[in-house]
Point group: C2
Chain length 498, copies 2
């Protein structure tokens, strides 16, 4: 028993080291590594994936795993969770031939670079063969793995365990019922919010100081991580004691980095507050993509963009940017960063329209896997869906179907977790308010109690529990879109005087 | 045949990917990664080393290797060299138990961090147990591997194939005969060189522009690599198309980064000019540490610090630093960066005294492995040797025995390659001058012909040939200390009017 576990632990230690290396290589590749090295980088990442596969997927591991799964009694709770998680990963990839898995990893690494180029040049044609190959692999791997109902269920579950097409359809149906009419009322309404002052020149150095200050306020320990810049902001929890995040400063767009930093900061705080006993195990990560997103969203939308916090923080901003914010009040700033308006780019979308962007992607992914549409049809279908949900049409593919990196990385099933996380953030806030006086903490710029609450309920557990369990443990009920719908109704009715 | 090679190639591809990952992790660790992550980083690097070991050192690889070594006829020249190199690595580590190898790697990774701390706090006592363990492993591994004559032969050969204690003794004897009296004459002589202007305030940004400009002039392609800063300058040839180097700017010491950058630039140009057909193989690196050092030294000492180049470049410096260099002539600048004077720190030593620092280390390493001294004795012995060779005594261990990272990384046998490389640089320059008009190229700031000569003779081959072969191929004779001795005599007699 002890022997089986020790043996498996040694394998997992090496498996973890490969993942650690890939995380560092990815960070490096996205934060300044020379483009000329991208081919060699892709090949190395691909070869490491194959090695990782080879290490974990073999009869010896399978037999130890099966034995341990049948003899869990003498294991600690953490060890039990490690075994269950390992088995899950085993099942997920065991049926995929190692060579195809390696080719696929090299393909997606390469495709991300090609995608960047295609997006820059608005060239869907050049991207198409890569995307086609990725879609083919996705379907092929679904066949290898086997699935119940819809093949897409498999991929949704990879990112959000316990979720499937029918639950998602229901979820989107519920929020669509609220968002679409609310947006119509706003668009037809009389309130126009002033926000042009956000697009004056805000020097990058000063923006960077604000970013670091906000992270500190939120409770992120910058000495145990780092903030850099990259084309697209992201967080990389290389290790509990080495959590890195990026932002992107635009001199003429203050809101962008302001919100990106606190968004990634939410992810980063989650990674930093995981129980140290889980460090180096498969559990030292978020419970799911949706739960992770709930933490970035709750800091970004529910806390930093809140009126109490903006009232507290605006004087700091005004001191840093006296000219740019000269004639602006805290209330005006609050409204300016909380406007709702249909737009083309998901990452720049506001809270209200954001989920509509997700629905566009969700439905297209579903259709691609249904084979009711082809890769070829994507640009046209994209535009149709944008008109249907947001009432606007992108004039090119760069601001349409090419805008997101996800498909180039093979992340089908990922997008819905953004919507789920956003909804869960509202549910969490609702329950947090029953226990602590959130507004008074925000109004005094003191996040310690808030972050402690989230650490107690969510962060510390890492991936020790499933998302379904985490949601239930922290709020006493399953995911309920009602809180999110109520939140949107309340917030936007007030701002837009509906 | 083809089958054996293909199988081995697949293993080597993964082996290379691990090395690639470790190179990126090392770069990351030394250029800004949070210190809090160093434990996890050490563990991961250690686990990857074990994996690399496990991958390469096994009966299947041994049998393929042995078969291929006996059937080389149908292999290309490059394939043959790959096989020979692989066998060499195999022999080097096969006899070391994998667990001990992993422990040792984790130990040296950790020790480097401890060393940094101990150096900062001048605390040899704290460093001692780590160094003791490393020395113990070094001796133990020598016993596992087996050796002829002196155990230190083994480690010298790891860094400089073909070299041994008796050849090194002879080499150091020869150069000592020239350097020691030359230094005495300089110290006793009447010439005093003005150099205080090098220690005025030189803004870091402007220094950085000069560094980049020098690299460009030398022929390093910065778009296929990068220059950053780190505590100690180094070069990391992650891949032929991704060669990275660091420097360290001190606002009050212009010479430091000026020379560090061109020194590392020489290493970096070597890595960048390796034949692309060798990329991703074990041959995509220098022929040896000594040959690598010859390239950093030849650019630094023989070219950039030369009178023709300084005459050419001084106006650029004067334009960049008009106040600091206001009353300085090119000739004065040339002399200032070419002074010879005993000093405590190896990395800041001038060309003439540099090898004396190496002799101190060489003799201590030899004695440690002979067991004629103990780790405990090192601080005292260090001071004695410094007095013997340089006539000065460090007042603390930080500027004495703790100054270099090497021992904390287990690099016994490495130091002598610095001296060998410096000597070989002089030999190369001698032969280069027979074929091209070096001075006129330096005087016009055009390194293209010079760098091409070095690429043709040295760089392109990577590790395809042994250092002994490379030296013979490029100069028609074996390493000959005479050229270096002549160079020093000529240069310093002229500068110091002896």
């Amino acid at each position: 028993m002890q022997e089986n576990y020790k043996r498996l632990e040694k394998i997992l230690e090496k498996h973890h080291a490969i993942g650690y290396a890939q995380a560092v290589m990815s960070w490096d590749g996205l934060t300044g590594a020379p483009e000329s090295g991208s081919d060699a980088r892709s090949r190395s990442i691909g070869a490491l994936s194959a090695l990782s596969h080879q290490l974990l997927i073999n009869d010896a591991v399978k037999s130890d795993l099966d034995y341990l799964l049948g003899n869990m009694h003498s294991l600690t709770e953490i060890e039990k969770s490690v075994i269950v998680k390992t088995k899950q990963i085993y099942e997920k990839i065991a049926k995929i031939p190692v060579d195809e898995f390696q080719d696929y990893t090299a393909l997606t690494t390469k495709s991300q670079i090609i995608w960047e180029d295609c997006k820059r040049n608005n060239d869907f044609e050049k991207f198409k063969p890569y995307l086609q190959k990725i879609v083919d692999y996705t379907n092929k791997f679904a066949d290898y793995r086997g699935f119940e109902g819809h093949p897409y269920n498999l991929y949704i579950d990879d990112y959000e365990e316990g979720m499937d097409v029918s639950l998602l359809n229901e979820f989107f149906h519920e929020i669509r019922k609220v968002i679409v009419p609310l947006l119509k009322k706003i668009t037809a309404g009389k309130v126009r919010i002033k926000k042009d002052f956000l697009d004056l020149v805000y020097p990058v150095d000063a923006q960077d100081e604000i970013s670091r200050n906000l992270l500190e306020i939120m409770g992120f320990d910058l000495s145990k991580g780092m903030l850099k810049t990259s084309e697209h902001p992201f967080t990389n929890g290389i290790d509990i004691n080495d959590v890195r995040l990026t932002t992107h400063y635009y001199e003429n767009d203050f809101k962008s980095a302001f919100l990106s930093t606190v968004h990634e900061g939410g992810h980063a705080i989650y990674e930093q507050n995981i129980n140290p006993l889980l460090a180096g195990t498969l559990l030292a990560t978020g419970a799911s993509y949706g739960i992770h997103e709930s933490q970035s969203r709750i800091y970004e939308n529910n806390f930093i963009k809140s009126r109490p916090f903006i009232n507290y923080y605006f004087p700091v901003l005004k001191e840093k940017f006296p000219q740019q914010l000269n004639e602006v009040t805290a209330e005006e700033f609050y409204r300016a960063i909380n406007t709702a308006q249909p737009s083309l780019i998901r990452t720049e979308a506001d809270e209200l329209t954001y989920c509509l962007h997700i629905m566009v992607r969700y439905e297209l992914e579903l259709a691609l896997m249904d084979k009711t549409i082809e890769v070829d049809d994507l640009p046209v279908k994209w535009k149709e869906k944008m008109v249907e949900y947001l009432g606007i049409e992108p004039q090119d593919d760069a601001s349409g179907v090419l805008q997101d990196v996800h498909w180039s990385a093979g992340y089908f099933g990922y997008f819905p977790t953004y919507a789920l996380g956003t909804a869960f953030a509202a549910q969490l806030e609702h329950y947090m308010r029953k226990e602590i006086d959130v507004d008074s903490h925000l109004a005094s710029g003191d996040f310690s109690v808030i972050t402690k609450w989230l650490t107690d309920k969510i962060h510390q557990y890492g991936a020790q529990f499933t998302p379904v369990e985490i949601i239930y443990k922290s709020t006493g009920e399953k995911l309920n879109a009602k809180y999110y719908c109520d939140y949107l109704e309340r917030k936007y009715s007030e701002i837009y005087e509906l």
